[in-house]
Structure formats: C-alpha cells, structure tokens
Symmetry: C3
C-alpha cells in the first residue's frame, strides 16, 4: 500500500463534501518576525502592539496575508497538488484578527465542479475556512483551480458553478470588534493620507522595487506549509526554474503598497485575483494600485477602501492589459481587495 | 597571548574528562518559526499547541532535531573545529521535550580515544548531553570524529574504544511523560497510516525534493551556533564551495519523510548515522525510508518504529550501496532512528 | 496629489526641528532568533535568559545592534532616502536594554546643517533617539549624511556644525541597572579572557569569515524596516548590484569578533564609524579588532573596553589605511565602540 499522498484528482471531488485539511499551526512572534524579514512590511497596526492598542485591538495581529497564507497552505495537499492552474479567488473575508498564540486549521467545502470539454481535467471550486483554536472562523475565501483527472474514463460529474459575488458588498465586510481609528496617529503610521483623501479612479505608483531570491520565496512558502513541488524542486519543471508561490507575490505587492497606501491598514475582503504571469527568482517586482471604490463602516473613524493591486516585473505603471484584453507579459498579479483606513 | 579559539587537537583530549560547552541558548517561538521556514516541517505535534495538548503534552515542543542541532552546535568549537571527518553517531536518546522558553547548554564526556596508525590524527569519542535550565538532560548521543594532531610528536594515548549499542533497545527509549495517542486525530495529522500499517522491510519513497540554497543552510547552521568554517566561508575549502552542515541534510530528509511517515511524530532514538557524501548548495535532495523494526511502548496508543532514513541528490530510491559495499555517490545520508507513532 | 514618500531634501531640514519617525515596532523572540540566524551571534548574555539572570538582568536582551538597527531603520525614510553618503556616527549610547515585548520608535533632532560648496547638496546632522513604550530613551546616536537638494536655487541655510565628542567619556556610559559580573561564568561564556587580560594597543584577528548572500542581507535589512532602495532593487544602481546596508556589515563584524572578544558582552557606546568601501553579496567578510582604551565602571565586576572593529573583504589583518591616509580598498568598516566586560 503506497503511503505517500498522490493528491486528489478531479474525479475525487464531490459537491458538498467538506475536507478537513491537515497540520494545524500555532503562530507566534516568530512568524511575525519572519513575515517582516521576507517582505517590506510596514503597516503600523501589524508592527506595534502599542499602535494596535491605540486602535482598540488587544495587540498587533499577525499580518492579514500571513493568516491567509497559513490557511491557504493547508489546502494545497488536498486541493492543488495536481492543479494545472490556479484560476481565481472570490468572496474572501477576514473575520477575526489572528494573534500570536492562536492555532489555525483549515477546512474546504467543494461548492462547484465542471469538467473541461477535453475530458482530461476540470475546474474545482472550494470555499475554504480558516478556524482558530476556539473553532471561530478567522477567514474564508473561494478559490477555483483546474485539476487533472487520474482516470480519463471517469464520468463527468454534474456541472455545478457557484454564484459568486464579483465584489463583496461593503456591508458584509467584518470590522474587528473594538477597532477605532478616532485617535489614529498618522505620523507614527507613516503617511498623512486619510480615507477622504482617496478618490475612486485614482492610481498610485508605489515606486519601490524588490528583486526576489530563491531562498526567500522558498522560506516563505515553507513557513506556510505549502507543499506544491514546483516551488521547491528545480527538477519539477522542464526549464529548471522554481515557480514562485502566487501568495509570495501578493505579499510583496501589498507590502510595497505601503508607499502611498500606508494607512490602508487591515485587509478585510478579497474580491478577486489573478496570477497573470509566472514569477521567478531574479525578477524585480514593483506595484501600483487603483482606487476602485470607497464605503463607510460603523466603526469609529474607520472607512473601507476597495483597491486594485497590480504587481509587475517591468513595463510602465498603470499598464495592465493589451488590446487583446490579455494581461501584458510583465504583469504578475491583479488583485481586488477591501481594506480599512482611518477617516 | 592569542585570544582566539584554535580548537582542540587530538592530544588535547583525555578519556573521562567532561567538557562544558559554551553559549547556552534560550529558545522561543522564533526558533520554531525558523525551523518551519528552513525545512518543510509538517509533523502536527510540533506545529500545533492544540494538537500537542490533545496528545497529552503541555504545548508543542521544539522539533526534536532542532533541539539536537542546538545541543550539537555548542560542541563544535570544542570537538570538531579541527575534525577531518565526522565518523558516526550512536546511542542518541531524546529524554525530555524542549519547549519555547527553555535554555539549553551542552556537555561532552570523552569516552574513547584511538590514534590513527599514520600518527597524524586520531579518533575521539564523546558522549554529549544537552541540559535544560533545571539541569535535566533533554538528550544525549555519542559521536566520534577524526581530529588532527597539533604536535605529531605527541605520544599516542592508550587506546580506549567504547562499547556502543548498534541499536538502542526499545525498552531504553524515553517516552515523554503524559504522551497519549489514544485520541490521535489522523485527519489533522495528515495521514491515515498507523503503527500497525507499517511492516519491517517496507520501503517508502518520500517523493518530494528540495533544491538547497546557500542562504538557507547558512541561516540554519548559524541559528544552531555551529561555528565550523567550512559551512560559511567560501575560501575555507580549495574548490570554493561551502560544505553543508550534515544536520541540515538530516532535517531536510526527516521533514521530507512526512510524506509517507507523517505519523512518525517524535524522534526518540538515534541508533547511527553516516554522512555518505558531501552536500552542496544547488543539489536537489530527496529522501526514502525503510522500516527496520517495530516495538511496543507502555504509553497509551504509542508504538515505536525503527526507521532507516536515506537522503540522496539523485539516483533511484532504495539504492544505497554499490557492489563494493560503499555508498553510492548520490547518497548523502544514511540515518537509523526510532520514532513514536500512534497505534 | 502624489501620495508616495519622495523623502526629504537638504532644504527641507531646519536646525532644532524634531522628526518623529514612523512605524513603531514590537520585538519578540522572533527578532532574536532571526538575528542569530543572520549573524554568527554567540555572546552569551544575548543568547541565554539564564546567563543574563546570573548577570543581574531580568532576561536576555535583544542584541544591542539589533536594537540599533530597529531604531536606525525608522529614520531612513525621513533622513537618508535621498542621501548621497552616510558620513559618520558619533556619541552613540545604549541607555537601556531592549527586551522581547518592548515596542520601539524613533525621533531625530536636526542638530546641524552645512550646504556643500557645489550648491547641490549638503550635510545634515541628526541626533536620533530610540524610545520604548514607556517613552524611555533606550539609545541615542548622532549621524550625519550628505543629502541632495531638490531645488538647487533654494538658499543655503546658516551653517551649524555641532560639537561632538570624538570619544564618549567612560563616565558617560550607561551600565544597565543591576548588571553584575561578579559571578560571571567564563566557561559558559566561551572564553577565559577577562578585562584585565586586554591591553590598549593589542590587536586581535578574529580569524573566521562569512560569505554573504543577497537573501541574507535583504532579510536583515527588511527586518529593520530600512527602506533604502539600493539594498533591495537591482535596478536602482547602474551596475545592477545591491548595496548591502552598512549595519549588516557592523553586525557581521561584531558577531565575528566573538572569537577573541567573546566577553565583550554589552555594547554601550559608539564613538564613531565609517563605511570605508561598499559591501556586496559574494564577498567574504573577516574582522579584526584593536583595543583602544579601558576604563573602570561602578558596577560590580564590570569593566569598559574601547575597541576599534574593522571588517574587510580581503587583505591582511591589521591593515587599515594606505600611505595616502585613505582606507585600503578591502576595508569595509572602521568602527570605534565601548563594550562592557567582566573584570
């Protein structure tokens, strides 16, 4: 009996089933320090316990994307080990901050299946939930991936395509209990721009660039216990390159966006995202953002801002797609998210 | 008076002497996070405080090999700074889990000496003990190394070769107090295979590979405060390569073995080990295991399993030695250890 | 309105103004572990809570240079983003140890300005203070940098050059409350040499070398939230190299100096320092020290020692400057500091 995990294939999924993912993880100040070593993370709420307390939280949470990576990593052995492509994200919501000492695990519910017309693969939709040690849901998101079939003769399942919000309505965003930006210290936060200073349609070039090294993205990806071979094994891809985990690019772009969006403190919603082109070591990653929308919240001094975050390895800022409607070859990431900002 | 440490030479050791090694170290969640960033560590007992508690421990211990590396690293300045070769390990026993907040130091007793017939070097046998802040022994092991003589005219010491167990008898393995696998959650642990599912003689190809970077092995080796020059200084070896600390290969192989041995949770015995060939950055390391033996324990639901763990940088799995009885050139590590597994 | 930080230019500084720097940071065991992974740090007082307690401190502080880097990193966006050169340090004093859990922020007072004769740039002198969550000053230092003018027509400010001590008088050094080296354990510390064993004029070759990787210095520099582009972006300099943060070289040299100065435990004063030549990845860094002075303190068993610490990427130890009085091309760092040592 083979004891290693071959991963699931398309015909192994059933709509409605819930997969409990393995290897729960307790996070500590170690994960926080590593996040700050691997990415140029500077958002004050995640850097300083004192700053977080002044904003009504008990201490500085783990960076939202670090929590996402931990939750996401657990799903890889069950969802994307045999994936041909990561197709999309939707309806991502951060529901509770994660603090050092918390233990996270993940579950995914299969919410859609569609076999491809070639009969060799299909699309699997899952809604993944990250749960803490009190079984509270700290975040959830929908992801869909293209997965190979093991047995090309296996019958196609009934096609179920979930209806997903293109954008999370602002009133469904979860503002952490107690969050209060009334006495927000803009000087300590690093930028003077408040929610009212941003307008839909505005674009921001975040200027700074980071050249990526193999050791960095592998350390990051291992830290999240993501086991996809292509990130670690330079014999896994025909050209000998190691494909960088898409989440590494997300974190790079988000932390680079501090320069111009330093007050977009908490990520509370992920409306969608595409990994437009593969990212490899040696590339110098830059980022730009576009303000897509704004909304109010009930929390004191707290506004919500919807942002497009684009990472690119070259080209000019604010260029995204060609005349053919396809992403330009230098674009790595196109992400649509909601963040909370002081008013 | 020269103030730097030239290391000890063969004639500086006396059978029976106890060397107290320098630089005690307090470990924290930082060491744990780094271990998980540097290696694809996924054993649940070391990843989750909650999982550890469900198994009867107060919280997740530091990975057993991380504890080993901390204890080992301290011995380098006194034992192996002038070593020509690391010849073997025996009688390694993990006696107490190490938790964040614990402070470790090391002592080594010289238990054997044998000058080589060439008169230029000799073999030094030491039994090293790792002690915590309560002076409890958390682990011990025997290591023997070939050490140069400073003064070729120094007389040969009386030859003393310690009698060492080839294999630690199962009844001498220390099961941590309170350990109870009766309610072990195989889903959260990541694999369904229990102690009863493994048979002596069975071999497991762990499938996954990791390509090593210089930055990774140097960070790991520094973290364990191992000071051997060959790991850090590319001018220390004639070919300009940095030799990777053997323990780095051990941790890589062990963590890769999760895929197929995810329930071999705690390492409790090290019967022997050989670093078959040097490991260098750029190599892609794979691992396979062979079940050597099984034994029962008195702890509820806990069985012991004896495993051969082999790391290789190429070749086919399960190939170890050539017709000449020597390790094949692709083999990096051949380790023989005991682990605890749920029944 | 551009929202990104262009940095300050020479004409943006006024003598007497106090700049509160952004992004406070809470440190944990994670920062400590990373410091020990990035540098060969072995000073026992910073490695072991037990050792620190035996010396009268509540637990092991964060390494003094790690505290310096955190304080320094915050100043970069306001002081040196448009700097052409980092010209010098003076009057650096460590006033309180920093412990895991502490939150640090920084302020700088502009204490001097001098426009260069070319009218294109000028020298800015700042006194920077690191403050903890109780608004206690944990360290301070003076730095001066050459900063570009944005507007070459901007009038030159009145020249103010601060009077700075070339050497901090020993009686102005702050010995941490409670520090007591009366029962110092030289074996655990790793070296037998005490304060009385060192003489002014003595030189020590620290022997060991470390070859630097890009991933390492970038992780370090990000951890300190230093945002200078030249460290991260290989398109920022014409030759495609990433300039290594000078503080990385300081920490490398200091930790290498353990071999020969393992009992120079606490850094309490920074008299001056020069980054003699740029440091790049791939270089193998070595260090040597010269004892410049010694002084007594009032704390039991505690002496002060003034050291020159030199890092080089080649050449012979103890060579510093050529006949022209300029640093030799292999010299990377020339630092003058005070440390505390057991008597």
């Amino acid at each position: 009996m083979a004891k290693t995990n071959p991963g699931r294939f398309f015909e192994d999924y059933t709509v409605g089933e819930v997969i409990r993912h393995a290897v729960p993880r307790t996070v500590s100040g170690g994960e926080r320090a590593l996040y700050h070593a691997l990415y140029p993370a500077r958002h004050a709420l995640y850097s300083s316990d004192e700053f977080a307390r002044a904003c009504g939280l008990p201490s500085a949470p783990l960076d939202d994307l670090a929590a996402f990576h931990v939750v996401f990593g657990k799903t890889v052995p069950d969802i994307s080990l045999n994936a041909l492509a990561n197709l999309g994200y939707a309806e991502g919501r951060w529901l509770l901050p994660v603090y050092p000492g918390d233990t996270l695990r993940s579950e995914s519910e299969v919410i859609g299946l569609k076999q491809n017309s070639n009969g060799k693969s299909g699309v699997v939709y899952v809604r993944t939930r990250g749960l803490n040690q009190r079984d509270e849901c700290v975040m959830e998101y929908v992801r869909w991936v293209m997965v190979r079939k093991r047995d090309l003769e296996a019958p196609a399942p009934e096609t179920v395509i979930p209806e997903l919000n293109k954008v999370i309505p602002a009133e469904q965003l979860a503002v952490p209990a107690g969050l209060d930006f009334s006495n927000y210290d803009f000087t300590l936060a690093g930028e003077p721009h408040r929610w009212g200073d941003y307008e839909a349609g505005e674009t921001i070039d975040h200027v700074d660039g980071v050249t990526i090294e193999e050791a960095e993205h592998m350390m990051a990806t291992r830290l999240w216990q993501n086991t996809a071979k292509v990130h670690f094994d330079n014999t896994a891809r025909p050209d000998g390159t190691r494909l960088i985990y898409g989440g590494h690019v997300i974190s790079l772009a988000r932390t680079l966006s501090f320069n111009g969006l330093g007050n977009a403190q908490m990520i509370v919603g992920l409306n969608g995202g595409a990994h437009a082109n593969p990212c490899l070591s040696g590339m110098t990653v830059r980022a730009w953002s576009e303000v897509l929308d704004k909304a109010d919240t009930n929390a004191p001094g707290v506004g919500a801002i919807r942002l497009r975050l684009v990472a690119a390895k070259g080209g000019a800022p604010f260029e995204l797609k060609g005349e053919d409607g396809k992403y330009l070859p230098d674009v790595l990431l196109d992400l649509d998210y909601w963040a909370l900002m002081p008013k």
